[in-house]
Amino acid sequence: MDYEMKPPRKLCIISSKGSLDMAYPPLILANAARMSGIEAHLFFTFWGLDIITKKKNNKLNISTVGNPNMHPWFHIPTLIGVLPGMSAAASWMMNREIAKLDFPPVDEFVQLVMDAGTCVYGCKMSMDMMKLTKEDLVEGADVLGAMEFLEIADGAQVLFV
C-alpha cells in the first residue's frame, strides 16, 4: 500500500542532563519512535549517564534552586529551596505526578525502551571521567566513543537534550 512506502526513519538522541525532569524527554521520544516503527538510538553523556547507571537511575532529583520553571503549585522560592530535603520532596512530588499519567519510573522506563528495541550507549569519555565501567550501566547498554556514535547517526535525525 502507498502509505507504507516511505523510507525508514531513524532518530538519534544525545542525553546530557541527569536531573529527573531532563531524564524523561529522551526516553519518551525514543519510546514514541519505536512505537511508530522508527529506529531509535540513545547516547548518554556527562550527567545523562546517571539515567543508565544502575545505582543512580532510580534516585534522580529535580533542582529546587535556580529553577524558575517549576509548576505553580510545585513552586519553591530559591531561599527555601536550599533547605535540606527540599529537592527530595519536590522530586517525590514530580515522581507521583508522573506515575499518575502512567509513565514508569526512570529505571523501568530505560528497560521499556530497550525492550522496545532502542539501542542504548554510554559515552566512553564521560565514563572514564566518572570512573564508571560497563558493569555500572544497565544491562544491554554499550560503551561508545563520540566518533562511533556519529557513524551510527549517519542519515538519522539527531537531537541533543
Binding site: N31, M35, G37, D102, D115
Partner: protein, 105 residues
Amino acid sequence: MTTATASVLDNVAFDKEGFMVDAHAWTPDIGEAIAQNLGVHLTDRHWIVINFARKEFDATGQSPTLRKITKSTPVDTKEIYALFPGGPAKVAAKIAGLGKPTGCI
C-alpha cells in the same frame, strides 16, 4: 482466498495512513484481512492484543496505549514488538480497526 479477503475490505473506508475511518464497522474478518495486507499472520497471541484493544475502545472510546496493553495482558513489551513489526502502536491499531493512537507511552 485472495478474492474472498479482498471482498471483505471492499466496503471498508480507510484514511490515507491506512486506519479504518469507522471503528464500529470492524469485524474479526476485516481485522484478519487488514493483517494479511500488512504481512502479519495472526496467532492467538495477536488476538489477545486485538481483543483487549477492542474492549478498551468499547469502554473508553479510545485506542489503549501500548503500556496499558502490556500491563493488562500477558503480552509484554518485547513480545508485542515481535508480534507487530514496524511499530506496534500503529500496526496493532490498524488491525484492530481503531484510529491512530494518541497516547505518548
